[in-house]
Symmetry: C2
Subunit: 255 residues, 2 copies
DNA sequence: TCTGTCCCTTTGTCCGACAAAGTTAGAGCG
DNA sequence: CGCTCTAACTTTGTCGGACAAAGGGACAGA
Protein backbone atom coordinates (compact mmCIF):
# COMPACT_ATOMS: atom_id res chain seq x y z
CA UNK A 1 0.00 0.00 0.00
CA UNK A 2 1.55 3.28 -1.08
CA UNK A 3 2.11 5.91 1.56
CA UNK A 4 -0.19 8.91 1.56
CA UNK A 5 1.88 11.97 0.62
CA UNK A 6 2.41 13.49 4.04
CA UNK A 7 5.08 15.96 3.01
CA UNK A 8 5.59 18.31 0.09
CA UNK A 9 9.03 18.28 -1.49
CA UNK A 10 11.18 20.84 0.26
CA UNK A 11 12.35 23.75 -1.85
CA UNK A 12 16.07 23.27 -1.57
CA UNK A 13 17.94 25.30 -4.13
CA UNK A 14 21.57 26.35 -4.13
CA UNK A 15 22.23 29.88 -2.98
CA UNK A 16 23.35 31.14 -6.37
CA UNK A 17 20.04 29.96 -7.83
CA UNK A 18 18.10 31.74 -5.15
CA UNK A 19 20.03 34.90 -5.86
CA UNK A 20 19.26 34.61 -9.57
CA UNK A 21 15.60 33.85 -8.89
CA UNK A 22 15.25 36.79 -6.54
CA UNK A 23 16.66 39.25 -9.03
CA UNK A 24 14.70 37.71 -11.89
CA UNK A 25 11.51 38.05 -9.92
CA UNK A 26 12.09 41.75 -9.38
CA UNK A 27 12.73 42.30 -13.07
CA UNK A 28 9.88 40.19 -14.37
CA UNK A 29 7.45 41.71 -11.92
CA UNK A 30 8.47 45.10 -13.16
CA UNK A 31 9.85 46.42 -9.89
CA UNK A 32 13.19 46.69 -11.65
CA UNK A 33 12.66 48.16 -15.12
CA UNK A 34 14.86 47.58 -18.15
CA UNK A 35 17.75 49.99 -17.92
CA UNK A 36 17.64 50.23 -14.15
CA UNK A 37 20.97 49.58 -12.48
CA UNK A 38 21.43 46.50 -10.34
CA UNK A 39 23.93 47.24 -7.60
CA UNK A 40 27.57 46.31 -7.74
CA UNK A 41 28.60 42.82 -6.81
CA UNK A 42 29.60 44.15 -3.43
CA UNK A 43 26.14 45.65 -2.93
CA UNK A 44 24.57 42.32 -3.72
CA UNK A 45 26.94 40.59 -1.33
CA UNK A 46 25.68 42.87 1.41
CA UNK A 47 22.03 42.54 0.45
CA UNK A 48 21.93 38.77 0.08
CA UNK A 49 24.50 38.04 2.74
CA UNK A 50 26.38 35.51 0.66
CA UNK A 51 29.85 35.40 -0.76
CA UNK A 52 30.82 37.24 -3.90
CA UNK A 53 31.54 34.00 -5.75
CA UNK A 54 27.99 32.95 -5.08
CA UNK A 55 26.65 36.28 -6.31
CA UNK A 56 28.75 36.00 -9.44
CA UNK A 57 27.38 32.56 -10.27
CA UNK A 58 23.88 33.94 -9.93
CA UNK A 59 24.75 36.87 -12.15
CA UNK A 60 26.06 34.57 -14.88
CA UNK A 61 22.74 32.78 -14.95
CA UNK A 62 20.80 35.98 -15.45
CA UNK A 63 23.29 37.33 -17.95
CA UNK A 64 22.97 34.23 -20.07
CA UNK A 65 19.20 34.51 -19.90
CA UNK A 66 19.49 38.04 -21.28
CA UNK A 67 17.77 39.63 -18.30
CA UNK A 68 20.74 41.66 -17.18
CA UNK A 69 23.86 42.81 -18.94
CA UNK A 70 26.86 44.96 -18.32
CA UNK A 71 27.27 48.36 -19.90
CA UNK A 72 30.52 49.81 -21.21
CA UNK A 73 31.84 50.14 -17.73
CA UNK A 74 30.73 46.62 -16.87
CA UNK A 75 28.19 47.79 -14.36
CA UNK A 76 25.10 45.65 -14.10
CA UNK A 77 21.70 46.78 -15.26
CA UNK A 78 18.46 45.10 -16.21
CA UNK A 79 17.72 44.96 -19.92
CA UNK A 80 15.23 43.67 -22.47
CA UNK A 81 16.26 40.24 -23.78
CA UNK A 82 17.19 40.49 -27.44
CA UNK A 83 15.26 38.36 -29.92
CA UNK A 84 18.19 37.25 -32.02
CA UNK A 85 20.15 36.09 -29.01
CA UNK A 86 17.24 34.09 -27.64
CA UNK A 87 16.46 32.72 -31.08
CA UNK A 88 19.99 31.47 -31.51
CA UNK A 89 19.51 29.41 -28.35
CA UNK A 90 16.51 27.83 -29.99
CA UNK A 91 18.32 27.26 -33.25
CA UNK A 92 21.03 25.51 -31.33
CA UNK A 93 18.43 23.34 -29.65
CA UNK A 94 16.84 22.47 -32.99
CA UNK A 95 20.21 21.39 -34.32
CA UNK A 96 20.84 19.21 -31.30
CA UNK A 97 17.41 17.65 -31.70
CA UNK A 98 18.42 16.90 -35.28
CA UNK A 99 15.32 18.37 -36.88
CA UNK A 100 15.02 17.84 -40.60
CA UNK A 101 14.95 20.46 -43.32
CA UNK A 102 11.45 19.28 -44.08
CA UNK A 103 10.29 20.34 -40.65
CA UNK A 104 12.09 23.63 -41.10
CA UNK A 105 10.51 24.15 -44.50
CA UNK A 106 7.02 23.32 -43.39
CA UNK A 107 7.16 25.52 -40.32
CA UNK A 108 8.67 28.38 -42.27
CA UNK A 109 5.99 28.12 -44.91
CA UNK A 110 3.47 28.81 -42.20
CA UNK A 111 5.44 31.46 -40.37
CA UNK A 112 6.61 33.44 -43.38
CA UNK A 113 3.14 33.45 -44.91
CA UNK A 114 1.75 34.75 -41.63
CA UNK A 115 4.47 37.42 -41.57
CA UNK A 116 3.69 38.68 -45.03
CA UNK A 117 -0.02 38.73 -44.27
CA UNK A 118 0.66 40.92 -41.28
CA UNK A 119 3.04 43.07 -43.26
CA UNK A 120 0.55 43.58 -46.07
CA UNK A 121 -2.00 44.64 -43.53
CA UNK A 122 0.08 46.85 -41.27
CA UNK A 123 3.41 47.83 -42.82
CA UNK A 124 4.31 51.48 -42.26
CA UNK A 125 6.14 53.78 -44.63
CA UNK A 126 9.25 53.30 -42.56
CA UNK A 127 8.99 49.53 -42.90
CA UNK A 128 8.68 49.93 -46.65
CA UNK A 129 11.69 52.18 -46.91
CA UNK A 130 13.75 49.70 -44.90
CA UNK A 131 12.64 46.97 -47.28
CA UNK A 132 13.41 48.96 -50.44
CA UNK A 133 16.77 49.87 -48.99
CA UNK A 134 17.44 46.19 -48.40
CA UNK A 135 16.35 45.42 -51.95
CA UNK A 136 18.79 47.96 -53.36
CA UNK A 137 21.63 46.41 -51.40
CA UNK A 138 20.58 42.94 -52.54
CA UNK A 139 20.66 43.99 -56.17
CA UNK A 140 24.15 45.34 -55.66
CA UNK A 141 25.50 42.04 -54.33
CA UNK A 142 23.50 39.63 -56.47
CA UNK A 143 26.74 38.04 -57.63
CA UNK A 144 28.07 37.43 -54.12
CA UNK A 145 26.29 34.45 -52.53
CA UNK A 146 27.46 35.12 -48.99
CA UNK A 147 26.36 38.75 -49.01
CA UNK A 148 23.14 37.95 -50.82
CA UNK A 149 22.24 35.29 -48.29
CA UNK A 150 22.80 37.81 -45.54
CA UNK A 151 20.55 40.32 -47.31
CA UNK A 152 17.89 37.66 -47.77
CA UNK A 153 17.91 36.84 -44.07
CA UNK A 154 17.61 40.52 -43.23
CA UNK A 155 14.81 40.97 -45.74
CA UNK A 156 12.65 38.42 -44.04
CA UNK A 157 13.41 39.84 -40.62
CA UNK A 158 12.18 43.18 -41.97
CA UNK A 159 9.01 41.62 -43.34
CA UNK A 160 8.31 40.08 -39.96
CA UNK A 161 9.01 43.41 -38.31
CA UNK A 162 6.55 45.05 -40.70
CA UNK A 163 3.87 42.67 -39.47
CA UNK A 164 4.02 44.57 -36.16
CA UNK A 165 3.58 41.25 -34.43
CA UNK A 166 6.46 40.58 -32.10
CA UNK A 167 5.27 37.11 -31.18
CA UNK A 168 5.44 36.13 -34.82
CA UNK A 169 8.76 37.88 -35.18
CA UNK A 170 10.17 35.81 -32.38
CA UNK A 171 8.54 32.57 -33.47
CA UNK A 172 9.98 32.64 -36.98
CA UNK A 173 13.49 33.60 -36.00
CA UNK A 174 14.91 30.23 -34.92
CA UNK A 175 13.88 28.51 -38.13
CA UNK A 176 15.07 31.47 -40.18
CA UNK A 177 18.50 31.34 -38.59
CA UNK A 178 18.87 27.76 -39.72
CA UNK A 179 17.78 28.60 -43.26
CA UNK A 180 20.37 31.28 -43.69
CA UNK A 181 23.47 29.15 -44.31
CA UNK A 182 21.70 27.00 -46.90
CA UNK A 183 20.63 30.03 -48.90
CA UNK A 184 24.25 30.80 -49.58
CA UNK A 185 24.90 27.24 -50.72
CA UNK A 186 21.90 27.29 -53.02
CA UNK A 187 22.65 30.65 -54.59
CA UNK A 188 26.18 29.44 -55.18
CA UNK A 189 25.08 26.19 -56.78
CA UNK A 190 22.07 27.31 -58.82
CA UNK A 191 22.87 29.75 -61.62
CA UNK A 192 19.68 31.80 -61.75
CA UNK A 193 19.11 31.53 -57.99
CA UNK A 194 20.31 35.04 -57.16
CA UNK A 195 18.20 36.94 -59.68
CA UNK A 196 15.12 34.88 -58.84
CA UNK A 197 15.59 35.64 -55.16
CA UNK A 198 15.86 39.35 -55.77
CA UNK A 199 12.88 39.30 -58.13
CA UNK A 200 10.79 37.59 -55.46
CA UNK A 201 11.76 40.26 -52.95
CA UNK A 202 10.74 42.94 -55.42
CA UNK A 203 7.34 41.36 -55.89
CA UNK A 204 6.92 41.04 -52.14
CA UNK A 205 7.64 44.70 -51.53
CA UNK A 206 5.26 45.54 -54.30
CA UNK A 207 2.55 43.41 -52.75
CA UNK A 208 3.04 45.05 -49.39
CA UNK A 209 2.87 48.51 -50.91
CA UNK A 210 -0.32 47.70 -52.82
CA UNK A 211 -1.70 45.92 -49.75
CA UNK A 212 -2.30 42.95 -52.00
CA UNK A 213 -2.54 40.01 -49.70
CA UNK A 214 -3.01 37.38 -52.40
CA UNK A 215 0.12 38.48 -54.21
CA UNK A 216 2.08 38.61 -50.97
CA UNK A 217 1.13 35.06 -50.03
CA UNK A 218 1.71 33.82 -53.56
CA UNK A 219 5.20 35.25 -53.84
CA UNK A 220 6.17 34.08 -50.38
CA UNK A 221 5.14 30.56 -51.35
CA UNK A 222 7.06 30.77 -54.60
CA UNK A 223 10.09 32.15 -52.83
CA UNK A 224 10.11 29.28 -50.38
CA UNK A 225 9.43 26.73 -53.10
CA UNK A 226 12.42 28.13 -54.97
CA UNK A 227 14.49 27.53 -51.89
CA UNK A 228 13.15 24.00 -51.68
CA UNK A 229 13.87 23.17 -55.29
CA UNK A 230 17.33 24.62 -54.97
CA UNK A 231 17.96 22.69 -51.79
CA UNK A 232 16.78 19.41 -53.23
CA UNK A 233 19.40 19.72 -55.94
CA UNK A 234 22.10 19.44 -53.31
CA UNK A 235 20.52 17.40 -50.53
CA UNK A 236 17.41 15.60 -49.32
CA UNK A 237 14.79 17.50 -47.36
CA UNK A 238 14.78 14.65 -44.88
CA UNK A 239 18.34 15.23 -43.89
CA UNK A 240 18.67 16.64 -40.43
CA UNK A 241 20.07 20.10 -39.92
CA UNK A 242 23.68 19.40 -39.27
CA UNK A 243 26.02 20.51 -36.62
CA UNK A 244 28.31 22.37 -38.94
CA UNK A 245 25.56 24.84 -39.79
CA UNK A 246 25.65 26.03 -36.27
CA UNK A 247 28.94 27.75 -36.87
CA UNK A 248 27.07 30.37 -38.84
CA UNK A 249 24.48 30.79 -36.16
CA UNK A 250 27.14 31.08 -33.48
CA UNK A 251 28.95 33.77 -35.40
CA UNK A 252 25.65 35.59 -35.92
CA UNK A 253 24.83 35.50 -32.25
CA UNK A 254 28.05 37.16 -31.23
CA UNK A 255 27.52 40.00 -33.66
CA UNK B 1 45.27 58.55 -45.10
CA UNK B 2 43.77 55.71 -43.10
CA UNK B 3 46.04 52.97 -41.94
CA UNK B 4 45.84 49.69 -43.74
CA UNK B 5 44.34 47.13 -41.34
CA UNK B 6 47.48 45.46 -40.11
CA UNK B 7 45.85 43.63 -37.23
CA UNK B 8 42.67 41.68 -36.75
CA UNK B 9 40.65 42.56 -33.64
CA UNK B 10 41.84 40.39 -30.81
CA UNK B 11 39.30 38.04 -29.31
CA UNK B 12 39.22 39.41 -25.81
CA UNK B 13 36.65 37.59 -23.72
CA UNK B 14 36.66 36.76 -20.03
CA UNK B 15 38.03 33.36 -19.20
CA UNK B 16 34.71 31.97 -17.96
CA UNK B 17 33.18 32.86 -21.32
CA UNK B 18 35.93 31.11 -23.19
CA UNK B 19 35.43 28.04 -21.05
CA UNK B 20 31.71 28.06 -21.81
CA UNK B 21 32.29 28.64 -25.51
CA UNK B 22 34.82 25.83 -25.72
CA UNK B 23 32.48 23.32 -24.12
CA UNK B 24 29.52 24.57 -26.14
CA UNK B 25 31.46 24.14 -29.35
CA UNK B 26 32.23 20.52 -28.54
CA UNK B 27 28.59 19.80 -27.81
CA UNK B 28 27.13 21.64 -30.79
CA UNK B 29 29.67 20.11 -33.15
CA UNK B 30 28.63 16.72 -31.90
CA UNK B 31 31.96 15.68 -30.48
CA UNK B 32 30.27 15.52 -27.11
CA UNK B 33 26.90 13.81 -27.49
CA UNK B 34 23.86 14.38 -25.29
CA UNK B 35 24.25 12.16 -22.27
CA UNK B 36 28.03 12.12 -22.40
CA UNK B 37 29.65 13.06 -19.12
CA UNK B 38 31.65 16.26 -18.87
CA UNK B 39 34.44 15.84 -16.37
CA UNK B 40 34.28 16.99 -12.79
CA UNK B 41 35.02 20.59 -12.00
CA UNK B 42 38.48 19.52 -10.95
CA UNK B 43 39.03 17.84 -14.33
CA UNK B 44 38.05 21.03 -16.10
CA UNK B 45 40.34 23.05 -13.87
CA UNK B 46 43.20 20.84 -15.02
CA UNK B 47 42.19 20.88 -18.68
CA UNK B 48 41.61 24.62 -19.02
CA UNK B 49 44.24 25.67 -16.54
CA UNK B 50 42.02 28.19 -14.79
CA UNK B 51 40.64 28.48 -11.30
CA UNK B 52 37.66 26.49 -10.18
CA UNK B 53 35.61 29.65 -9.62
CA UNK B 54 36.16 30.52 -13.25
CA UNK B 55 35.12 27.05 -14.36
CA UNK B 56 32.02 27.26 -12.24
CA UNK B 57 30.95 30.55 -13.81
CA UNK B 58 31.35 29.00 -17.21
CA UNK B 59 29.31 26.01 -16.15
CA UNK B 60 26.47 28.22 -14.94
CA UNK B 61 26.28 29.80 -18.37
CA UNK B 62 25.94 26.45 -20.11
CA UNK B 63 23.55 25.13 -17.52
CA UNK B 64 21.26 28.09 -18.00
CA UNK B 65 21.41 27.56 -21.76
CA UNK B 66 20.25 23.98 -21.23
CA UNK B 67 23.29 22.46 -22.88
CA UNK B 68 24.55 20.70 -19.80
CA UNK B 69 22.90 19.64 -16.59
CA UNK B 70 23.65 17.73 -13.46
CA UNK B 71 22.23 14.30 -12.79
CA UNK B 72 21.01 13.03 -9.46
CA UNK B 73 24.54 12.94 -8.12
CA UNK B 74 25.21 16.44 -9.49
CA UNK B 75 27.73 15.18 -11.98
CA UNK B 76 27.87 17.14 -15.21
CA UNK B 77 26.75 15.75 -18.52
CA UNK B 78 25.69 17.15 -21.87
CA UNK B 79 21.97 17.05 -22.56
CA UNK B 80 19.34 18.01 -25.09
CA UNK B 81 17.86 21.41 -24.25
CA UNK B 82 14.24 21.00 -23.21
CA UNK B 83 11.60 22.83 -25.22
CA UNK B 84 9.53 24.02 -22.31
CA UNK B 85 12.50 25.47 -20.51
CA UNK B 86 13.69 27.36 -23.58
CA UNK B 87 10.17 28.48 -24.37
CA UNK B 88 9.73 29.93 -20.92
CA UNK B 89 12.73 32.16 -21.58
CA UNK B 90 10.94 33.41 -24.64
CA UNK B 91 7.68 33.87 -22.80
CA UNK B 92 9.54 35.92 -20.25
CA UNK B 93 11.02 38.03 -23.02
CA UNK B 94 7.62 38.57 -24.58
CA UNK B 95 6.26 39.78 -21.27
CA UNK B 96 9.14 42.19 -20.84
CA UNK B 97 8.58 43.50 -24.35
CA UNK B 98 4.98 44.06 -23.33
CA UNK B 99 3.42 42.28 -26.29
CA UNK B 100 -0.35 42.53 -26.51
CA UNK B 101 -2.86 39.74 -26.33
CA UNK B 102 -3.79 40.64 -29.89
CA UNK B 103 -0.30 39.71 -31.07
CA UNK B 104 -0.50 36.54 -29.05
CA UNK B 105 -3.90 35.69 -30.50
CA UNK B 106 -2.93 36.36 -34.08
CA UNK B 107 0.29 34.38 -33.87
CA UNK B 108 -1.43 31.51 -32.12
CA UNK B 109 -4.15 31.40 -34.73
CA UNK B 110 -1.45 30.74 -37.29
CA UNK B 111 0.60 28.35 -35.20
CA UNK B 112 -2.24 26.27 -33.81
CA UNK B 113 -3.85 25.91 -37.23
CA UNK B 114 -0.53 24.74 -38.62
CA UNK B 115 -0.23 22.29 -35.74
CA UNK B 116 -3.60 20.76 -36.33
CA UNK B 117 -2.94 20.47 -40.05
CA UNK B 118 0.22 18.56 -39.31
CA UNK B 119 -1.56 16.45 -36.73
CA UNK B 120 -4.39 15.58 -39.11
CA UNK B 121 -1.86 14.51 -41.67
CA UNK B 122 0.59 12.60 -39.50
CA UNK B 123 -0.80 11.75 -36.07
CA UNK B 124 0.01 8.22 -34.94
CA UNK B 125 -2.16 5.91 -32.90
CA UNK B 126 -0.04 6.73 -29.88
CA UNK B 127 -0.65 10.46 -30.39
CA UNK B 128 -4.36 9.77 -30.57
CA UNK B 129 -4.38 7.73 -27.42
CA UNK B 130 -2.51 10.47 -25.57
CA UNK B 131 -5.08 12.94 -26.78
CA UNK B 132 -8.07 10.83 -25.80
CA UNK B 133 -6.48 10.22 -22.43
CA UNK B 134 -6.13 13.97 -22.02
CA UNK B 135 -9.76 14.42 -23.05
CA UNK B 136 -10.91 11.97 -20.43
CA UNK B 137 -8.98 13.84 -17.75
CA UNK B 138 -10.39 17.14 -18.97
CA UNK B 139 -13.93 15.86 -18.73
CA UNK B 140 -13.24 14.78 -15.17
CA UNK B 141 -12.12 18.25 -14.09
CA UNK B 142 -14.48 20.37 -16.16
CA UNK B 143 -15.65 22.10 -13.02
CA UNK B 144 -12.16 23.03 -11.83
CA UNK B 145 -10.83 25.96 -13.86
CA UNK B 146 -7.22 25.62 -12.77
CA UNK B 147 -7.03 21.93 -13.60
CA UNK B 148 -8.97 22.39 -16.82
CA UNK B 149 -6.63 25.16 -17.97
CA UNK B 150 -3.72 22.85 -17.33
CA UNK B 151 -5.37 20.09 -19.35
CA UNK B 152 -6.07 22.53 -22.16
CA UNK B 153 -2.43 23.60 -22.30
CA UNK B 154 -1.35 19.97 -22.38
CA UNK B 155 -3.89 19.16 -25.08
CA UNK B 156 -2.40 21.68 -27.46
CA UNK B 157 1.10 20.53 -26.69
CA UNK B 158 -0.05 17.03 -27.64
CA UNK B 159 -1.60 18.27 -30.87
CA UNK B 160 1.66 20.00 -31.79
CA UNK B 161 3.52 16.83 -30.91
CA UNK B 162 1.21 14.87 -33.18
CA UNK B 163 2.21 17.13 -36.06
CA UNK B 164 5.63 15.47 -35.86
CA UNK B 165 7.14 18.87 -36.57
CA UNK B 166 9.47 19.88 -33.81
CA UNK B 167 10.12 23.31 -35.24
CA UNK B 168 6.44 24.07 -35.04
CA UNK B 169 6.28 22.51 -31.61
CA UNK B 170 8.97 24.86 -30.41
CA UNK B 171 7.63 27.91 -32.22
CA UNK B 172 4.18 27.70 -30.69
CA UNK B 173 5.29 27.05 -27.14
CA UNK B 174 6.16 30.59 -25.97
CA UNK B 175 2.83 32.01 -27.03
CA UNK B 176 1.01 29.02 -25.59
CA UNK B 177 2.66 29.48 -22.22
CA UNK B 178 1.28 32.98 -22.06
CA UNK B 179 -2.20 31.83 -22.98
CA UNK B 180 -2.37 29.31 -20.22
CA UNK B 181 -3.08 31.60 -17.25
CA UNK B 182 -5.84 33.44 -19.10
CA UNK B 183 -7.65 30.23 -19.90
CA UNK B 184 -8.18 29.66 -16.22
CA UNK B 185 -9.55 33.17 -15.77
CA UNK B 186 -11.90 32.76 -18.69
CA UNK B 187 -13.23 29.37 -17.68
CA UNK B 188 -13.80 30.78 -14.22
CA UNK B 189 -15.68 33.81 -15.49
CA UNK B 190 -17.70 32.36 -18.35
CA UNK B 191 -20.29 29.80 -17.30
CA UNK B 192 -20.37 27.51 -20.35
CA UNK B 193 -16.66 28.02 -21.08
CA UNK B 194 -15.54 24.68 -19.65
CA UNK B 195 -17.99 22.47 -21.55
CA UNK B 196 -17.35 24.37 -24.79
CA UNK B 197 -13.63 23.89 -24.37
CA UNK B 198 -13.98 20.18 -23.84
CA UNK B 199 -16.39 19.89 -26.76
CA UNK B 200 -13.90 21.61 -29.04
CA UNK B 201 -11.20 19.19 -27.96
CA UNK B 202 -13.51 16.29 -28.72
CA UNK B 203 -14.16 17.60 -32.21
CA UNK B 204 -10.46 18.15 -32.76
CA UNK B 205 -9.59 14.59 -31.81
CA UNK B 206 -12.36 13.41 -34.05
CA UNK B 207 -11.01 15.46 -36.94
CA UNK B 208 -7.53 14.07 -36.44
CA UNK B 209 -8.83 10.52 -36.32
CA UNK B 210 -10.87 10.98 -39.50
CA UNK B 211 -7.95 12.85 -41.12
CA UNK B 212 -10.42 15.62 -41.84
CA UNK B 213 -8.33 18.69 -42.34
CA UNK B 214 -11.20 21.08 -42.90
CA UNK B 215 -12.86 20.09 -39.64
CA UNK B 216 -9.58 20.34 -37.77
CA UNK B 217 -8.90 23.85 -38.98
CA UNK B 218 -12.50 24.88 -38.39
CA UNK B 219 -12.58 23.69 -34.80
CA UNK B 220 -9.19 25.14 -34.01
CA UNK B 221 -10.42 28.50 -35.25
CA UNK B 222 -13.60 28.20 -33.22
CA UNK B 223 -11.67 27.14 -30.16
CA UNK B 224 -9.42 30.18 -30.40
CA UNK B 225 -12.33 32.47 -31.16
CA UNK B 226 -14.02 31.16 -28.05
CA UNK B 227 -10.93 32.11 -26.10
CA UNK B 228 -11.00 35.53 -27.67
CA UNK B 229 -14.66 36.15 -26.92
CA UNK B 230 -14.14 34.99 -23.36
CA UNK B 231 -11.08 37.14 -22.97
CA UNK B 232 -12.78 40.25 -24.31
CA UNK B 233 -15.39 39.90 -21.60
CA UNK B 234 -12.73 40.57 -19.00
CA UNK B 235 -10.14 42.70 -20.79
CA UNK B 236 -9.13 44.33 -24.04
CA UNK B 237 -7.10 42.41 -26.60
CA UNK B 238 -4.81 45.41 -26.85
CA UNK B 239 -3.71 45.11 -23.29
CA UNK B 240 -0.16 43.98 -22.95
CA UNK B 241 0.60 40.67 -21.34
CA UNK B 242 1.28 41.63 -17.81
CA UNK B 243 4.04 40.88 -15.46
CA UNK B 244 1.92 39.02 -12.98
CA UNK B 245 1.15 36.34 -15.55
CA UNK B 246 4.75 35.38 -15.48
CA UNK B 247 4.37 33.86 -12.08
CA UNK B 248 2.51 31.02 -13.73
CA UNK B 249 5.17 30.59 -16.35
CA UNK B 250 7.87 30.65 -13.72
CA UNK B 251 6.16 27.97 -11.72
CA UNK B 252 5.69 25.92 -14.88
CA UNK B 253 9.34 26.19 -15.79
CA UNK B 254 10.48 24.78 -12.51
CA UNK B 255 8.28 21.79 -12.86
C1' DT C 1 19.71 -9.64 0.53
C1' DC C 2 19.55 -5.77 3.14
C1' DT C 3 21.63 -2.39 6.30
C1' DG C 4 24.79 0.43 8.60
C1' DT C 5 29.55 2.28 8.56
C1' DC C 6 33.83 4.22 7.00
C1' DC C 7 36.36 6.63 3.49
C1' DC C 8 37.01 9.22 -0.56
C1' DT C 9 35.32 12.43 -4.07
C1' DT C 10 32.65 16.19 -5.52
C1' DT C 11 29.99 20.12 -5.01
C1' DG C 12 28.46 24.48 -2.84
C1' DT C 13 30.08 28.09 -0.26
C1' DC C 14 33.27 31.04 2.00
C1' DC C 15 37.55 33.98 2.80
C1' DG C 16 41.13 36.72 1.35
C1' DA C 17 44.02 38.56 -2.25
C1' DC C 18 45.57 41.11 -6.44
C1' DA C 19 46.02 43.10 -11.20
C1' DA C 20 43.57 45.59 -14.68
C1' DA C 21 40.22 48.72 -16.02
C1' DG C 22 37.00 52.19 -14.95
C1' DT C 23 35.47 56.23 -11.89
C1' DT C 24 35.93 60.16 -9.11
C1' DA C 25 37.99 63.97 -6.99
C1' DG C 26 41.19 67.29 -6.80
C1' DA C 27 45.46 69.82 -8.40
C1' DG C 28 47.24 72.59 -11.81
C1' DC C 29 46.74 75.58 -15.83
C1' DG C 30 44.91 78.69 -19.23
C1' DC D 1 35.69 80.06 -14.33
C1' DG D 2 36.31 76.08 -17.23
C1' DC D 3 39.52 72.61 -18.86
C1' DT D 4 42.98 68.87 -18.56
C1' DC D 5 45.78 65.68 -16.17
C1' DT D 6 46.87 62.93 -12.42
C1' DA D 7 46.24 60.39 -8.22
C1' DA D 8 43.28 57.93 -5.27
C1' DC D 9 39.40 54.89 -5.03
C1' DT D 10 36.12 51.26 -6.78
C1' DT D 11 34.79 47.41 -9.28
C1' DT D 12 35.49 43.42 -11.88
C1' DG D 13 37.91 39.15 -13.29
C1' DT D 14 40.79 35.79 -11.60
C1' DC D 15 43.35 33.28 -8.34
C1' DG D 16 44.60 30.24 -4.24
C1' DG D 17 43.07 27.82 -0.49
C1' DA D 18 39.64 26.15 2.84
C1' DC D 19 35.67 23.47 4.77
C1' DA D 20 31.02 21.34 5.48
C1' DA D 21 27.55 18.58 3.33
C1' DA D 22 26.17 15.12 0.33
C1' DG D 23 27.02 11.20 -2.80
C1' DG D 24 29.35 6.85 -4.20
C1' DG D 25 31.74 2.78 -3.21
C1' DA D 26 33.58 -0.88 -0.53
C1' DC D 27 32.94 -3.75 3.25
C1' DA D 28 31.33 -5.97 7.41
C1' DG D 29 27.42 -7.70 9.89
C1' DA D 30 22.42 -9.14 10.52
Amino acid sequence: MPLAPLFRPIDVAPAYQKVADAIEREIVNGRIKPGDPIGTEHDLVRQFGVNRSTIREGIRVLEEGGLISRDSSRRLHACLPRYTKLASRLSRALVLHEVTFRELYEASMTLEVASIEGAVERATEENLSELTDNLARSEAVVGDPAMLAECDAEFHVLVAKASQNRVLQLAREPAAQLFYPTTEMIVTGVAEGGPRLVAAHRHLIDAIRRRDREAGVLWTRRHLQDWRRGFEKIASLDRSVEHMYMEHAQAARRR
